[in-house]
Symmetry: C2
Subunit: 141 residues, 2 copies
Amino acid sequence: MTGRARYRTKQKDELTDYLQTKAGIHLTAAQIHDDFREKGLAMGMATIYRHLDKLVEEGTVRKYTIGATNSACYEYVGDREESTVDCFHCKCESCGKLIHLHCDELVGIQKHIDATHGFAIDPMRTVFYGTCADCRLKIHA
Amino acid sequence: MTGRARYRTKQKDELTDYLQTKAGIHLTAAQIHDDFREKGLAMGMATIYRHLDKLVEEGTVRKYTIGATNSACYEYVGDREESTVDCFHCKCESCGKLIHLHCDELVGIQKHIDATHGFAIDPMRTVFYGTCADCRLKIHA
DNA sequence: TTGCGTGCAAAGGTTTTGCATGGCA
DNA sequence: TGCCATGCAAAACCTTTGCACGCAA
């Protein structure tokens, strides 16, 4: 179905290496492009977008189109397949911190929404956006 | 602060009337534009965007940039100040459908995470990714 | 009459696509 | 050698902005 990569190329390797070093960080295609340009390893925008699309399809990278800007953000999340570990993520919109949440109540909600609304939440891909404790203190201070 | 409207115009009235009839539905600027065109009441894109921006600023309309498409969605929410009733979103990764969820349990979770983990979830920006009921049936069929 | 609101067109930015070339297997 | 991957450029989009005109007050 999905056009799996057949050939292994320098560009693909460098992009995945790069993304891994930026795990948990939101990146725009333009940022990636700039970073590569700075390293003297320019990569075409088209190539970046094409790879990101594939990685998103694979689930290795998450795409977000939330936010004020008009550009999508991409985030490396790896290929951990521990489907048994129900781990939710909270992303602080103020400082960008990504918090991992193991919470029984959330597992309960997951079941509730499944039963009541028929929607099967994928915790691995779901992110709660909001403000973390630290930032709230700063804001109130 | 915000440039309040001084003049009342036909376009503005018709746009708000229209939006109210579509309360709770996600609309793109293009959809609005098309709907008006069909009614024979063509309205310029610029005007639509300008009004939507103002309405978002006022809080009457919410803007979402969730989803596979590159276009923003707008939703009329009126001026209800009942901050307790918040709306979460479920995005089906299979068919791309966006589902609205008004769910007390979720509001409970919101409070729970606030109390237990110190994280203030912003429901407006939070999306549950997963699979909707229809797609699950299709997949199992 | 004043000056905001509107519509058109153009600009600005992001993402996708077509096509020839180069590189991997 | 056969194809896929790449890069460039152009196209396709979405959204914003500039400007002249029309309309509300």
